[in-house]
Symmetry: C2
Subunit: 714 residues, 2 copies
């Protein structure tokens, strides 16, 4: 189903409710821009008394307008808004943009007004943008209701939770930039239309080639992810998410009242859905421009072409740090480079021409062509002086530089591989650099920015391929045996499954679990000891009154022989009762001691914004302190799970350190997929904690497993 | 003693050796610039045949010049250079700049030529800049021997291992930037004059206010650190160190043949010496400009003043991530802000004016004044639309904006606290923003860049104060008891101290050590067991043939009772002999098992470039994999040691996690200071490894200590 917003974000007619003759008022400015920009549709100023404003007939109310109206721009104060929405609804207006602040962001009275407005809007089928928004524009419809003058129309869309950030984005792209904008929406308080719906609109809007979103807090994160997954198959989506630190989150909250949520989790989930996340605000526009102009490559092997060692080195450093790799050049490539470059040139990647282009910058295009022909090269980064040879060396090189720029543009189109150029002369906007820009090659003065753009292209290319080739596996049918275990837990009045129930449930989903025995009385340990005669055992308390078993002295390890087990049993009972008087104790769970391995943690929790999310990390205090964990929304694809393993900073530990073997990645991916299926099939599960799992070079052992159901009221 | 370079980097007379009439030649260009720039001293073109070049009398050789010459610019090929240096030396020329490549960077023959040139230069007292350099300029002397046209003269100095990077720096500062340059030197192969000497020159050169260095590899790192420590007391020093990744290091090596060394270590040592390290190349110029224009604050409490919530949030996020803090505003400050701002404004830091400046940008200066008066505020970051109110809101605001810019400049001078402004309108260079720039306030379009500049100012202020208040403690006298232990080790033909020798040595330096006993035969264990009756013991092999005790099965833990100890002894002997047949075994060392604590590592190694360096980190594979360690050059100050504890990413572990107490930081600082003293007093020690040390909430236990002497030949 196509998005409702088209009906009024590209409107045929607009009412300006609260139109004004005062040039400092938004109700004047909006009107002025509509007229100045030759808005093609009907314009209806609404004013209680004025018969005309800026030469256009005005009406006392929308109901008095003798024509259909698609969009209402509401410029009046908060307290008037519910009544206006009602009138708009009765008139059949499809959407309103409410500029006024003083709603939920301002306190309880505002929140009441906001809710009232929403109730009426829902009743009458009116959609609300805002309130507390800086406005909207759709430059392809010549509709500028935000009062930013001189914005060039083009393919970048903006949805922003901050009007000033929208201005930032427009201005960053402005001075001589190649690209303009399509639609801007300030989301304001998101009382009705939210990021997910705006993104859907941008996905369907042919005028928008790259939507850019500035987000402080999502309200319907799960839906957003679903929409993003679809839209990113068609076009790249750039998100800057603010609120990385507690201070930033506090600031964002005071700004829009939106809960920011964990930054790193949001970034992980967005990237899973194919979204390009800009981690610096000043990278938003360069990245969006690169995504707009260039084709995302299918892999991450980059060639660097430099006319100086310093830039080659900085380029290599920056590139490696983004996770890309320096392409290994084919023998033939090196041989061909050798034909056009002097002997001192470095033919390994980075290629340093060592003065070989000083007298003829055209050699740079020769080299670029040779590099782009190499199948091992997915993208090309050119760094150094290009665009300034004329200034640096000789006036006479100017025409050759210009021609080289055109040749580079032709190479871009011929090979379809991204080319980005960094030039020391970028601030001078020389003729050659302008020619390069015109031919679609981004030019930056900063190597770091150039590399960030390449990295974004590579990430996008990989994510898009991953999501189309390996969509997450749906699993909505629960095996009866699994449902029975949950039902039994519920029936006994618990939300927390006993560990053996969790183990049984995991087994139903094909997770290999250790054998276990339950001893309900000390006497049972005779049989247990006989069963575990050949290996040491672990004993853990079973009690719904005791959640943290170790703290309660409820865990004993490396037990051998019946007498030791009996002693352990008695110790556990004593500690447990000391920990909690009258604790209701079922007994103890006895399992074999697990074979040691790399300690990992797999957790699932239900995020209020994003729904069920899986977390993966290594065990131990370091991970806790360094927050070295990675998140993915459930359901997962196998690729998602594999990417998670590589997503932690300390991933080398999985490859084996100090002489240990690498862990069995396939087995861990398999475990994650089974957990993902389990969580999907049982929406009543609110939390899973496999902590720790010992990862071995062949399989894994779940050492402790915990599962919690949502309380029946939820 | 003042630096020799002044004699020829601000020369009274220059010979151009290899002067030319061909405009593409350096020997022509240099001459042309000297003439065009009105170089005030003598200019002597040297050419075998030409009687004049560019209207200036030429001479067949420097010896033919009938005047004194300070500096020779050598434009001839590599093979001619040794003879030319000889002639220059005989003429009494103090320094030569050798442009040609083809020396040590090109292979063995070049290296021979380079060594030959150096030998002659040393003999005749000529200093060499280069070879393989892009040249030098000293704009205050109107000497431009590098052929970069139109460089503005000013206070920034450049020393660079890449000519293109020097161009980058000049160009980044160029377009409308407030600052120009003093001296540039391309260091080339650093055969004679090296970074340390250039830095000394810049330290003494009054025309240079901020030296900027692009470094691929230091050759005399230790001396550089010493010079930097002095220079940074007078003026800030900015270094960009390349070669962060292996790929970058390989590229740097192929470029200048210099060994890059560990990036993180170099950064740590530079920062210890007070140097400002730019981690991105595109931050070099903004940071240098901020250091030039603003006074470094004495602490890190920053106020953010924003006219929009989005920028406030991004500012807070970025600031916190650099390690600065949001200043807690005084009650009075908040009260005063409330007087000038509307009720919706956020008076906590970040201060968001919430539209309170839209009609009058002057209110921004009112707020700035209130914030700067607050003693809790060390620096001010203004973010948002300032400089564009005229464009955004009303033409009539233009004059008020301009006046506000002047008021902000006055506040900068009045309070002496740094102010940096980020403006959405920075790309437009509006009148108000130019006024702001003229009054010495840096303006950026990127919040991240603005914050990086503030962070650099804060870091510099802190480092300068730390280094002047708490210089490293010198310790050059070795106690006789300590020297005796080392002598005994040497006498027995070993470079590796036995663990008990290391323990004894550490004890001499006041490091509290565990008691130990040595058992040379199994029979000795009767006495040992008696002595350790009350606590479990650890047993480790003593053998100069076995360096890695654990791998050789040479360590047994938690031993109680004589029989267990005897068994452990026999096991150790058996394993050791299996590990190395005929291993020469002294016996075993028995110590009490250490009380558990936070596992830390303190190491010392002699870096070939930087000399003795201490490393601090936590124990375990995570630290290894994540390289979460910190380095400082020895000797340390107490502040250095304290900063090291805070320098690791996982520092929170030292504060206590999961209910444990914080470690005893004072004790660890004390331990580091004792190790620092020990290393200074015994230069023959090449390596120390205390691994692990258990840090307790009261003191620490050195669990394993290893010390290696340099081999007698070193």
């Amino acid at each position: 189903m196509s998005c409702q917003l088209h009906q009024f974000l590209a409107p045929s007619s607009i009412a300006i409710i609260g139109a004004s003759k005062d040039p400092t008022k938004r109700g004047y400015q909006a009107l002025k821009y509509l007229i100045a920009d030759n808005f093609a549709g009907g314009i209806y100023p609404i004013h209680p008394r004025e018969p005309e404003i800026l030469g256009i007939p005005a009406y006392p109310s929308v109901s008095a307008v003798p024509a259909e109206i698609d969009l209402g721009l509401v410029c009046t104060p908060a307290k008037t808004v519910p009544a206006i929405i009602e009138e708009c609804g009765k008139k059949g207006i499809k959407g309103v943009v409410v500029l006024a602040g003083g709603f939920s962001e301002a306190g309880p009275e505002g929140a009441r007004l906001e809710a009232e407005g929403l109730r009426i809007a829902r009743e009458l089928g009116v959609r609300i943008i805002g309130p507390n928004t800086s406005g909207v524009f759709n430059l392809h419809s010549r509709m500028n209701l935000v009062g930013m003058p001189n914005v060039k129309s083009g393919g970048l869309g903006i949805v922003s939770q901050s009007g000033n950030m929208a201005l930032s984005i427009v201005n960053d792209a402005a001075p001589g930039g190649p690209l303009g904008f399509s639609t801007y929406v300030g989301v304001g308080n998101q009382v009705d239309v939210r990021f997910n719906e705006y993104l859907q609109y941008f996905g369907e809007d042919d005028n928008t080639k790259v939507p850019i979103l500035y987000v402080e807090g999502f309200k319907q994160g799960r839906t957003f992810l679903e929409v993003a997954r679809e839209v990113t198959q068609k076009k790249p989506v750039v998100v800057y998410k603010s609120g990385r630190t507690e201070a930033g989150q506090a600031s964002a909250k005071s700004h829009t009242g939106a809960l920011a949520g964990s930054y790193e989790m949001a970034v992980d989930l967005l990237r899973q859905a194919g979204v390009t996340v800009a981690r610096q605000a000043d990278y938003i526009v360069p990245i969006a421009v690169a995504l707009r102009l260039l084709t995302a490559p299918s892999s991450n092997r980059v060639a660097i072409l430099a006319d100086g060692g310093g830039h080659a080195t900085i380029g290599a450093d920056s590139l490696i740090e983004t996770g890309s790799v320096l392409a290994t050049l084919a023998e033939e490539t090196r041989a061909n480079l050798a034909k056009v470059l002097p002997p001192a040139a470095s033919l390994a990647n980075p290629v340093d021409v060592a003065g070989g282009t000083d007298a003829n910058p055209g050699v740079l295009a020769d080299c670029a062509s040779i590099l782009l022909q190499d199948e091992n090269v997915d993208a090309l980064l050119v760094v150094g002086l290009f665009g300034g040879y004329k200034l640096r060396f000789a006036e006479s090189l100017g025409p050759i530089e210009n021609e080289t720029a055109i040749r580079l543009g032709a190479l871009l189109r011929r090979f379809g591989k991204p080319i980005i150029l960094q030039s020391v002369y970028a601030p001078f906007r020389t003729e050659a650099l302008e020619a390069l820009r015109s031919s679609g090659i981004p030019v930056h003065s900063s190597i770091e920015v150039a590399v960030a753009c390449l990295a974004a292209l590579i990430d996008y290319g990989c994510a898009k391929r991953r999501n189309v080739n390996d969509p997450p596996t749906a699993c909505n049918e629960a095996p009866a045996a699994a449902s029975a275990i949950i039902a039994q837990c519920r029936a006994s009045g618990r939300n927390v499954l006993f560990e053996y129930e969790t183990m049984d449930l995991l087994k139903v989903y094909g997770v290999p679990m250790q054998p276990y025995m339950v001893a309900r009385r000390e006497e049972d340990l005779a049989e247990v000891a006989a069963a575990f005669a050949s290996q040491p055992a672990a004993m853990k308390i079973i009690s719904h009154d005791i959640l943290h078993k170790t703290e309660a002295g409820g865990v004993k390890l490396t037990l051998r022989r019946e007498e030791t087990m009996r002693q352990a049993y008695r110790d556990i009972m004593e500690s447990a009762h000391a920990f909690k008087h009258n604790a209701d104790i079922e007994g103890v769970l006895v399992t074999p001691m697990a074979q040691q391995g790399v300690e990992i943690i797999i957790g699932v929790s239900k995020n209020p914004i994003f729904g069920p999310v899986m977390m993966f990390g290594l065990g131990g205090t370091f991970v806790e302190v360094l927050k070295d964990v990675v998140f993915r929304a459930i359901p997962l694809s196998r690729s998602d799970a594999a990417v998670m393993l590589d997503g932690i900073k300390a991933k080398k530990i999985l490859d084996g350190v100090r002489g240990t073997n690498p862990v069995d990645r396939e087995a861990l991916v398999d475990l994650m997929m089974r957990i993902s299926a389990l969580v999907q099939a049982h929406p009543e599960i609110s939390e899973i904690d496999l902590n720790p799992v010992f990862a071995h070079d062949d399989g894994y052992t779940v050492v402790d497993a915990r599962m919690i159901l949502s309380s029946p009221l939820e």
